[in-house]
Amino acid sequence: MLKFFAARLFQAIPVLFVVITATFFLVHSAPGGPFDAEKTLPAEVLDNLNARYNLDDPLYKQYLSYMGNLVQGDFGPSFRYSNRSVTEMILTGLPITFELALYAMLIALIIGVSAGIVASIKPNTAQDYIPMSLAMAGICMPSFLMGPLLVLIFGISLDWLPVSGWGYAPGDKILPAITLGTGYAAYIARLTRGGMIEVLGQDYIRTAKAKGLPTPTIIYRHALRGGLAPVLAFLGPAFAGLLAGSFVVETIFQIPGLGRFYVQAAFNRDYTMILGTTILLSTLIVVFNILSDILTVWLNPRLTLKD
C-alpha cells in the first residue's frame, strides 16, 4: 500500500506543477493589478509599490523566484493585507473551513445514506419517490438560497440559532454546516440508492434472504458494504469540493474561512494569495482522491491496490 501511495503522490507532482504554472501566468496576464483602485496612485508611488513586491521584474524572473520560494515552503506576503503572509492567512482560514467541511460531510452522510437506504429497499414505490424527490430538490437548491432560507426560519422567525458567526455564540455552527451539507446529502442519497439497488439484486443477498436472515442484518452487514462503494468513490472529490466551495456559505454566515480569502483574492488581484490558495486546494483534491481510492479498495475485496 505504501508503494501505491508513493506512486500516486509522485504522479501528482507534474499535475501540481502544471496547475501552479498555469495559475501564475493566468493571474499575471489578467487585466488590472493589485494596486489599482478607484483613486489612481501617483506614478512614483506605484513604482515604489511595484518595486517593493518585485513586480517590476520581468515575468519569467518573478516566476522563477516564486517557484524558488515555493520549494522552500514560502508562499510570500499577501499583496492586499500588507502585514500578513499568505502562509499565515491559510493557517488561519484552513482549520475553520476544514471543520465546516467536516460537519457538512457528516450531515451529508447521515442524511444521504439513510435516505438512500430507505429508498433502495422498495424501489419505485412511495418509499423511494419521496426521499428521492427531496434529494432532487436538495441538489437543485443552491446554498445561497438554502442558507438565507434556513436563517429566516431558524434564526429570525423562531429565534433558535444565531444568524452568523463561527464558534462565537453557542450553536452558530449548526446552520452553516446544514446549509453546506444538504446539497451533498442529496448526491449521496442518490448514489447510495443506486449502489444499494444493484447490490440487493445480487445472488449473495438472495442467498442471505433464503437463509432467512433478518432484513436489517442483510442491509447493514451484507449489502451496505458493497452498496456504499459509489458513495466512497465520491467522498474524496466531495470533501475537496466542500473545502473549495465553502465560499458562499462562509459569506452568508460571516465565517472567517479559507473560501472567502480565495474568492476575494481573485477579485483583488492578490497574486500570492490566489496562488497560495490554489496550490493548497489542488493538493487537497489530489490527496483526497488518493484516500478515497484506498478506502474503496478496502471496502471491496475484489479490488487491489496494485498500480
Binding site: 487585466p31 501617483p42 512614483e44 438565507p148 463561527w166 479498495v297
Partner: protein, 578 residues
C-alpha cells in the same frame, strides 16, 4: 495486496422454512419500517440536538452592550492593515480613528477642528505658518508622552518615497513636502516642519491652505509610536508586525485588544488617553461584513448596534416599519459617468452636454436607486463647506438636448454610432445603466450597448481610456471643493477622460494659492462652470449614507464625511427597546 478479507456469512440454524410465506412478508415489512423508523429517529435526534443548543442562546449583543457599554459595529471589509500611513479605506479609517489621534479632532456634527493632541494653535496672518502647542497630558497607550518629535518622525515616515504611502499628498501644502516625497529632495530638514521643543510644532506651508486643519484630522497625518515601529522594522518598511494587537501602541481613546482575521477587531478603552474621563464606551467591536444581507440579518437579530450598509430592497420596508432605525444622510460624494473625450462623437462638447441634459435624474433616484440620493447637477455636492456650485447649467431638458445633438450633426440621433457604456459588475450599477440607456434611446434616439467588467478590468480600461462612457464615483477626502475639482486638471491621475482645459487648470492653481476664502470659492465656481458646460463628465446623483442603527446608540451624529468620533458615543440602556 488485499486489504481485507470478507468473512463468509455466518451460518445460522434454519429458523422457519416451514413458516407461512405471508408471515415472512409481514416480517420484512416490519423490518423495513424499523429501518425507516431508525432514520426518522436519527433526524429527530439531530433536530433535538439543535433545540438543546439553541435553548441557550444567551443575551444578545445589544443587551450586553447596553449593560457594559460595548458597541458592536458592522464595518465593511477586512482592513488591509492598521498602519495610518499605508492604508486608504473607510474601513480602516473607522478603526484607526479609535486607536490614534492627530493634532486636531473633529466636532461630531459640524466637523470643525477641535483640539486633539494640540491644545491650541495659532495661524500667521498670511495663512502660511501654523504653530501648534501640544497638550502636556497626551500619552501613548504604554505611558510614553506624545511629543512634537513624534509628529515630525511620523510625517517624515509618511513622506518617505520608499514607504509608498498613498496618502502622502495630504501633506503636500507643506513647504518642500512634495519634493521630498517625489525623491527630488533628500534632506528632510528642508521640509517645512520643525519642533523647537517637545510641546511645540511649527509648520510652514508653501501656499495658504484654508482646509489645512481639516487635513490634520485625517488618519494619514496621525502620529505613530516611533519605538514600536522601529522594534518591528525600519521607518519606511511596509507591512511589519507593529500593527498587530500584541504590539500596537496608540494615542487614541481606545487600544487594540484583539484582531481576528476576517472576523473581529476589538478595541478597549485606553486608560492613558488624555480625555479618557469623557470616553463613555468601554469597548468597540468591529465586524468585517462584506455582505449587506448578512449584515442586515445580524442587525435584525440584535447582534449589531449599527449596520454600515443595507440591501437597497430593504430600505422601503425599514422606512415604513422602523423609521427610527434607519437614517439617510447626504454624503460627500458624487456618482457620475465619464465621457472619453478623445474619440468618436464624444469629442464634441455639444454631444456630451446633450447626453447629460437628456437624463431624468429625479426619476433615477426615485425609481432606481431608492436610497434617498440627491439628483446631482454639479460635480461638487451643494454646500460643501459653504461652497455653492453653479446651478442651471445642467438640468433635465430634452428639447435643448435634441437641439444640441442636431447642431452637432446628428438630427434625431441619425448617424450616431453605437457607443458602449462600461461599468463594474454590480446590480446597482447595472440598473442605473439600463435606465440611462433607455432614457437616451427615448429622448435622443441613440443606441448604447452595456458592458460590465470585473472591478480590476474596469479600472484598467478606465485608466487607459479604453471606453466610450464609464461609470464612476468619487468620495471627498476632506470637506472642501478642492478634493473634487482638482481631479480634472490636465493629465490629473483621476481625470481619466482625456479632457484638458488650460483655463480650468489656471483657475484651480489660482485657488490653491488664494488665502481669501470668498475669492477662492469664486475660482472654484468659475472652474466648475467650465467643467459642467464642457461636460467631460455627467454627474448623476450625490451619494447618501444609508445606515441602520438601534435607538439606544447616542452621540452618533450625522455629517457629510460620515465621521463619528467615538469619544462622544455612548449607549443609553433605558432606550433599548424592540
Amino acid at each position: 495486496m488485499r486489504l481485507h478479507n470478507q468473512t463468509p456469512c455466518p451460518r445460522k440454524p434454519s429458523t422457519g422454512t416451514h413458516l407461512i410465506r405471508n408471515l415472512k412478508v409481514q416480517a420484512v415489512i416490519i423490518k423495513t419500517l424499523s429501518i425507516a423508523r431508525a432514520c426518522l429517529l436519527l433526524s429527530l435526534l439531530l433536530l433535538s440536538l439543535l433545540l438543546i443548543v439553541s435553548c441557550d442562546l444567551g443575551p444578545s449583543n445589544r443587551a450586553t452592550g447596553a449593560a457594559q457599554q460595548i458597541l458592536h459595529l458592522g464595518n465593511g471589509t477586512e482592513p488591509k492593515d492598521l498602519d495610518p500611513h499605508i492604508v486608504t479605506g473607510v474601513t480602516e479609517h473607522n478603526i484607526i480613528s479609535a486607536l490614534l489621534e492627530g493634532l486636531v479632532t473633529e466636532h461630531p456634527r459640524t466637523l470643525q477642528p477641535e483640539p486633539g493632541v494640540a491644545a491650541s494653535w495659532s495661524i500667521s496672518e498670511d495663512g502660511r505658518r501654523y504653530t501648534f502647542k501640544l497638550r502636556d497630558n497626551a500619552y501613548w497607550s504604554n505611558g510614553d508622552r506624545v511629543t512634537a518629535d513624534d509628529f515630525l518622525w511620523s510625517w517624515q515616515r509618511l513622506l518617505m518615497p520608499s514607504l509608498a504611502g498613498e496618502y502622502a499628498y495630504q501633506l503636500y501644502p507643506i513647504v518642500n513636502a512634495a519634493a521630498f516625497n517625489k525623491g527630488e529632495l533628500n534632506d528632510f530638514s528642508q521640509v517645512g516642519i520643525s519642533a523647537p521643543d517637545p510641546q511645540t510644532l511649527i509648520i510652514n506651508l508653501a501656499y495658504p491652505t484654508p482646509y489645512f486643519l481639516s487635513l490634520l484630522s485625517h488618519f494619514s497625518t496621525f502620529p505613530v509610536h516611533k519605538n514600536t515601529v522601529l522594534a518591528h522594522g525600519k521607518q519606511d518598511e511596509r507591512g511589519t508586525l507593529w500593527t498587530r494587537a500584541e504590539n500596537f501602541v496608540g494615542n487614541g481613546p481606545f487600544v487594540l485588544k484583539k484582531w481576528r482575521l476576517n472576523y473581529l477587531i476589538q478595541v478597549t478603552k485606553n486608560p492613558f488617553y488624555w480625555d479618557q474621563e469623557n470616553v463613555a464606551l468601554n469597548e468597540i467591536r468591529f465586524y468585517p461584513i462584506d455582505n449587506a444581507q448578512t449584515e442586515e440579518r445580524m442587525f435584525r437579530t440584535s447582534a449589531l448596534h449599527i449596520a454600515s450598509s443595507i440591501p437597497a430592497d430593504k430600505i422601503a420596508s425599514y422606512q415604513q416599519n422602523h423609521p427610527e432605525k434607519i437614517s439617510i444622510n447626504p454624503y460627500l460624494g458624487t456618482y457620475y459617468y465619464r465621457f472619453n473625450v478623445t474619440r468618436g462623437p464624444l469629442v464634441d462638447p455639444r454631444v456630451r452636454r446633450a447626453l447629460s441634459l437628456a437624463i431624468d435624474r429625479q426619476m433615477l433616484v426615485d425609481a432606481i436607486t431608492k436610497g434617498g440620493q440627491i439628483p446631482a447637477f454639479s460635480f461638487t455636492p451643494p454646500n460643501t463647506q459653504g461652497y455653492q456650485p453653479p446651478s442651471g447649467i445642467l438640468r433635465y431638458d430634452v428639447d435643448l438636448a435634441r437641439q444640441l445633438l442636431t447642431e452637432a450633426g446628428f438630427p434625431n440621433g441619425k448617424g450616431f454610432p453605437t457607443l458602449e457604456l462600461l461599468y463594474n459588475t454590480s446590480d446597482g450599477h447595472r440598473r442605473i445603466a439600463v435606465a440611462v440607456q433607455q432614457m437616451w434611446k427615448e429622448a435622443l434616439n441613440i443606441t448604447i450597448t452595456l458592458s460590465n467588467q470585473d472591478w480590476k478590468v474596469f479600472l484598467d480600461r478606465a485608466q487607459s481610456l479604453d471606453y466610450d462612457i464609464a461609470r464612476a464615483g468619487w468620495i471627498g477626502d476632506y470637506a472642501d471643493p478642492n478634493t473634487f475639482l482638482d481631479m480634472f486638471v490636465t493629465n490629473g491621475g483621476n481625470n481619466q477622460t482625456g479632457w484638458s482645459n488650460p483655463q480650468y487648470d489656471q483657475l484651480i492653481a489660482q485657488a490653491a494659492t488664494q488665502a481669501d476664502q470668498t475669492l477662492r470659492y469664486k475660482n472654484f465656481y468659475q472652474a466648475e462652470e467650465l467643467l459642467l458646460s464642457d461636460s467631460p463628465i455627467m454627474p448623476i446623483y450625490t451619494y447618501t449614507r444609508v445606515q441602520l442603527m438601534h435607538p439606544e446608540v447616542k452621540g452618533w451624529l450625522a455629517n457629510i464625511l460620515d465621521h463619528h468620533p467615538y469619544k462622544y458615543v455612548y449607549i443609553d440602556p433605558i432606550a433599548v427597546n424592540d
